[in-house]
């Protein structure tokens, strides 16, 4: 018998979709990295890209587009925008539906009429989101580990680990936010809307802060700043940022535990 019986059901539901999600992510990474040698060797692309307006590049999460190294190429093509977007679709989608969606479908009432503490339901759900984010991170790592020798990406192991750690923690932080908003509103849709808006604003705050001085203080509130800023695949991840992300995630979850315990559930 599962050790987290409340969610045994959720896990079973998500296994197949997680598998396909992983296949898709791995495929995307393989294709993008396989194009690297061509792009590196095509004269002019780097020069062309370097002439892009800085604010356009910043919108895509890159400070300097540098296609002459594998790390620079992947930072621009994958880790600036696509990979964070994919992890968030996975964790926010799950976070919004696990409790908020269960309440909408009338399942939460039934589960909580059993001798199960609300806190436990919330914490098990949080653990499930961690699992999803870790599976995602592992797929990214493995895909790049396979491609690195084939197309000579010459990635630094430490930088890659740091970059993926940032992405995984970003997924956990916003996934937990979606979980908590769903648990406190009883609505999957509201959770998706709120968390989606927070994610978009946080992304803009982090990426545009490089250009707009007025935004510089705000970026310090953005989880993206602590996860993806400064091209960690090239320059190395600022490891203590992981602690900030963990603290943000823990704060969100703590609020959730306290408030969810007292909330009136909708029938």
């Amino acid at each position: 018998m599962s050790r987290i019986p409340v969610l045994a059901q959720e896990l079973r539901d998500r296994r197949r979709s997680l598998l396909w999600w992983s296949v898709g992510v791995a495929g995307w990474i393989l294709v993008v990295s396989a194009m690297y040698p061509t792009i590196r060797d095509t004269s002019g692309i780097s020069e062309l890209v370097s002439q892009y307006p800085k604010n356009i590049l910043a919108l895509f999460g890159v400070s300097d587009m540098d296609f002459s190294s594998g790390a620079g190429y992947l930072a621009g093509e994958l880790f600036g925008f696509v990979i964070p977007l994919l992890v968030l679709m996975l964790t926010i989608g799950a976070g919004a539906s696990i409790i908020g969606g269960a309440e909408e479908r009338g399942l939460l009432d039934l589960v909580l009429s059993h001798p199960v503490r609300r806190r436990r339901v919330l914490l098990e759900s949080a653990a499930l989101i961690v699992v999803l984010a870790l599976v995602f991170g592992t797929v990214v790592l493995l895909s790049l580990a396979v491609m690195d020798p084939i197309v000579a990406l010459q990635l630094s192991v430490a930088n890659l680990l740091g970059t993926v750690l940032g992405v995984v923690l970003l997924g956990i932080t916003l996934g937990w936010l979606a979980l908590v908003v769903g648990a406190l509103t009883g609505s999957r849709g509201r959770s998706l809307a709120v968390t989606g808006a927070v994610a978009a604003l946080a992304y803009l705050a982090s990426s545009l802060a490089q250009l707009v001085d007025a935004l510089r203080p705000v970026r310090l509130l953005s989880p993206f700043w602590y996860a993806t800023s400064g091209s960690p695949l090239v320059a190395g991840y600022t490891w203590w940022y992981a602690g900030v992300l963990l603290a943000m995630a823990a704060a969100v979850l703590t609020v959730g535990v306290i408030r969810f315990d007292r909330r009136a559930l909708s029938a």
Partner: protein, 301 residues
């Protein structure tokens, strides 16, 4: 002193947008079937969900099996079974997987009665829940509420969607459950149903508990609507109109419609000798019963 199955003291639950329940005080001794009767939206579900700590009282308190509904909720939920008014299960599970999943949430209470209940209600266990009819899903709901043989079963509109034969089987199940000293608290909007199965009935209206009566009292004072087909409507009308217990008598061709409150035998006696073609009697709807029961007292307006 024996601990009551359910006891509430001035239990009040307010919602932001009105409704809810106000000052509900009642006591259900162990070993009783208590029927909670009221129209939809009267507050039955609110009261029931408060007993299980799905809602919190705004004021007042509730005790279930001797435990406070808030501080003792885990213990309450360990020892009760519950069928929600809108019973839902993950659609892709089979009935068996769904029951296993719910049992796994009660590691201390094995589903000792499951096989017997499954057989009794001919429950479909091997098909995905989403393919089941409303009635077959509701049967699964009954099985999960009773399968661990809990001390108290709380059922919100348990017979909705069940066909009459299954309803009868359900009534026997409920009677047998309390026959072994256990308790059942159920809600219904059907007077007929609670009269069949309950020992006592609490009538709730617009959030207020307006009366708690034994079923005998309800029966003796209850209101029934009668339709009589006769070949001699003039004689029948003349005889019925002499009875105090008959009201709202109207005649259309050879058909008479009227209401009877209280005992039925005076009506039968009055009709002896009148050629009766057909006689149909049914319980009046709740509002009528309420008015018949409490006309002149406790004016709700």
């Amino acid at each position: 002193m024996v601990v009551p199955a359910v006891r509430t003291e001035s239990l009040t639950v307010e919602y932001r947008h009105g409704r809810g329940i106000a000052e509900v005080s009642l006591e259900v001794p162990a070993g009783e079937v208590f029927g909670f009767l009221g129209p939809n939206g009267a507050g039955k579900t609110t009261a029931i969900r408060t007993l299980l700590d799905l809602l919190r009282p705004t004021s007042g308190r509730a005790e279930v099996l001797g435990h406070d509904s808030v501080s003792g909720s885990l213990e309450i939920r360990r020892r009760t079974g519950y069928l929600p008014g809108e019973f839902a299960l993950p659609g892709q599970l089979t009935g068996r997987q769904a029951l296993d999943w719910l049992s796994s949430l009660r590691p201390d209470s094995p589903p000792i009665r499951r096989d017997e209940l499954v057989e009794r209600f001919s429950v479909e266990l091997d098909r995905p829940v989403r393919q089941l009819s409303k009635g077959n899903r509701q049967k699964l709901g009954l099985v999960q509420a009773f399968q661990h043989d809990p001390e108290l079963v709380i059922l919100d509109e348990p017979t909705s969607g069940l066909d009459p034969l299954v309803q009868d089987e359900f009534h026997r199940l409920v009677r047998a459950h309390v026959g072994r000293g256990r308790s059942v608290f159920l809600s219904s909007h059907s007077l007929d149903e609670v009269q069949h199965v309950a020992d006592r009935v609490g009538i709730i209206r617009e959030g207020h508990l307006v009366a708690v009566e034994t079923v005998e009292v309800l029966r003796s004072r209850g209101l029934r609507r009668v339709t009589l087909l006769t070949t001699d409507p003039t004689a029948a009308e003349a005889r019925l109109s002499t009875l105090d217990s008959v009201s709202e008598l109207s005649r259309r061709g050879d058909r008479l419609d009227f209401a009877v409150s209280g005992a039925f035998d005076p009506v039968i006696a009055a009709l002896s000798g009148v050629p009766v073609v057909d006689l149909l009697s049914r319980a009046a709807d709740l509002d009528e019963v309420f008015l018949a029961l409490y006309r002149g007292q406790a004016d709700p307006s």
